[in-house]
Amino acid sequence: MSTISVNGKELEVDEEGYLTNLNDWVPEVATYMAKDEGTELSESHWEVINFLREYYEEYQIAPAVRVLTKAIGKKLGKDKGNSKYLYELFPYGPGKQACKYAGLPKPTGCV
């Protein structure tokens, strides 16, 4: 089992780098993972990450893409409420890359 070192703590991650224990998440986890993939997290990234975490808290699953784009559109304006904007922020896919930074499990299935 691999681990990542955040705030002096060793946190367990799975084969693909997703946190094994959701409760291990602290904001520095996102910063660390993003840096590892060569991304500096901006305010815009955090808007998405925070929404994912709030949604997960309530529904125990990452939001569907249209739920996410709608929420982001409401918050940041209609021009940003689409997946093009989200892919600009998270080129490996908002569902997968953003979930990873947010400490959520990877969405499974035909997606």
């Binding site: 125990q60 699953i61 569907a64 739920v67 569902g95 997968k96 499974t108 299935g109 035909c110 997606v111």
Partner: protein, 513 residues
């Protein structure tokens, strides 16, 4: 973009020179013990696994006469060798269907035939194409049986009709039975059996998502198109892949189905208990898991008191539904026998079109020129309508009813000769990205041809796996990820909605025959 070479797209596809062992490193993540045990398999490689695996082989040979015939009847004619998209895309000779079959056949010969036992005892099993079963062979199985998407293209060209898909399913079942399973498939099967769908979308999340879609469609069209779920007493139960709720371009297909139902005045519902059409039990050859998943559809149909079952756009789900549903979850004597049991959403829409019950403004899709990707499981393992070839003609007829511009890809890459998207059969996972990209080459070559020669702009499909796979691999070949769309997105975008207000209390679905 990747650490491996992306295959070139050539003008004239040429069969590649073989490169031995180039894909031997490709192997998906192994399922951990909790995933395995949750669906009835040992948690890790068991003691005396060789014996147990061979016992399982006997069990499956006994259950499936086809497997026995396939193991015995290959004459090494070579007709299949250049038919697999994974061989064409990788040049690895073990991706030739005959070589893939031989991974199992050589073990079968060694332990289950007189010649193999005889020469095996003399230490020369290779004299008769037999081989000892050992860990290296098992590793080879794990690697190369996860480089088969069970698309059955090879079986079309085999003079004996040997179906590598069935061998590959049996191999995975044998491996699972000794504790070696694939993480992607087996985790998903577990989720679908507990939560009700592959994504693990719980009921409240489904409700929230559908409510959002209702708002979105009403905003877009001004019409209150409903997305009912768990609505007892509905006529129709729609069972659709959970990706339709979650991902793009899938969700636009779901919106299309809802608009069609709305316009037909149908009383329909989704179910949170059976919120998944996909049945990954088939990919791992596990009859028991396939049955458990299918039983959810039966329970939902009974609980909701529906009269009909319709399946959404999902390739292998339609194979399971069309070919096996009666055995797995029947009898369906409580459903309305005047309709196909089950029915495909394309058949449903097609009937409405034939009977002039729905109308289109085709110009809505004029900014696109469409081609259709026949999904392997629909094309080669099922049918639609009541005529041979309906599974090819009906989706095309639906597209053409909604679009002015339609072109087919080259003849030898469509219909029964269709190339797999490269992600079917349980390999649609990031840890198999290389084989997915390389296996998509033949389809991408055919697509490129119509893009360049006929001005095609988009590829439409009726399978959740195809849609997810293409949105991932299209960019590797220089195309846009949004080139891939749902057939029912085309339908939904061009469908003329009458401005019916408050018709969620719809009348009986007398719309189509």
């Amino acid at each position: 973009m990747a650490e491996y070479e992306i295959p070139e797209l050539r003008e004239i596809p040429i069969i590649p020179k073989i490169k031995e062992g180039v894909m031997a490193h490709s192997s998906p993540f192994v399922a951990k013990a909790p995933i395995q045990t949750a669906i009835g398999f040992p948690g890790e490689l068991v003691d005396n696994w060789e014996g147990k695996l061979l016992d399982k082989m006997d069990d499956l040979r006994g259950r499936y006469r086809s497997l026995q015939v396939y193991l015995d009847s290959c004459v090494k004619c070579g007709a299949c060798t250049d038919k697999c998209h994974y061989f064409l895309g990788t040049s690895d000779p073990k991706n030739m269907p005959v070589a893939r079959q031989d991974l199992m056949r050589k073990v079968y010969r060694r332990y289950k035939t007189f010649a193999g036992k005889f020469w095996g005892k003399l230490g020369m099993p290779w004299m008769v194409g037999a081989a000892e079963l050992n860990k290296d062979v098992l590793d080879d199985w794990y690697s190369y049986f996860h480089q088969c998407s069970q698309c059955r293209r090879c079986s079309v060209y085999c003079p004996y009709g040997i179906d590598t898909a069935e061998i590959s399913m049996a191999a995975r079942e044998m491996m699972d039975s000794v504790g070696v399973g694939q993480k992607y498939c087996n985790e998903i099967i577990g989720k679908a059996q507990t939560v009700g769908n592959n994504l693990g979308l719980p009921q409240p999340a489904l409700y929230d998502t559908l409510e959002g879609l209702e708002e979105e469609v009403e905003e877009d069209t001004g019409v209150a198109v409903k997305f009912p779920i768990d609505k007892k007493g509905s006529d129709i139960l729609l069972v659709t892949p959970s990706a339709d709720f979650f991902a793009e371009p899938h969700v636009d297909g779901l919106i299309g189905y809802a608009k069609v139902f709305h316009e037909a005045g149908a009383s329909w519902t989704l179910s949170s208990h059976a919120s998944e059409a996909a049945n990954f039990g088939m990919f791992i050859g596990s009859y028991e898991n396939m049955r458990t998943l299918s039983q959810r559809v039966r329970k939902a149909a009974l609980d909701l008191g529906v009269k009909r079952i319709i399946f959404g756009e999902c390739g292998h789900a339609w194979r399971v539904a069309y070919s096996f549903l009666n055995t797995l979850a029947g009898p369906w004597d409580f459903l309305d026998q005047n309709y196909p049991i089950p029915q495909h959403i394309c058949e449903y829409t097609y009937d409405l079109i034939q009977n002039d019950k729905i109308k289109f403004d085709k110009s809505e899709n004029d900014h696109m020129t469409i081609t259709f990707h026949d999904s392997c499981n629909v094309a080669r393992a099922s049918r639609m309508g009541d005529k041979p070839g309906g599974q090819f003609d009906i989706p095309r007829a639906v597209i053409k009813a909604a679009c002015n511009n339609y072109v087919d890809m080259p003849e030898d890459t469509i219909k029964e000769a269709t190339f797999c998207c490269g992600g079917g059969g349980g390999i649609l996972t990031d840890d198999l990205m290389e084989i997915r990209v390389k296996g998509a080459q033949p389809r991408m070559e055919a697509y490129k041809r119509v893009v360049e020669e006929k001005g095609v702009t988009n590829l439409a499909a009726i399978c959740a796996i195809c849609k997810a796979q293409f949105s991932k691999v299209l960019p590797y070949y220089g195309f846009g990820m949004t080139d891939i769309i749902s057939v029912h997105q085309l339908v939904g975008d061009a469908l003329i909605l009458s401005d019916a207000a408050g018709d969620d209390d719809s009348d009986d679905s007398d719309g189509e025959e």
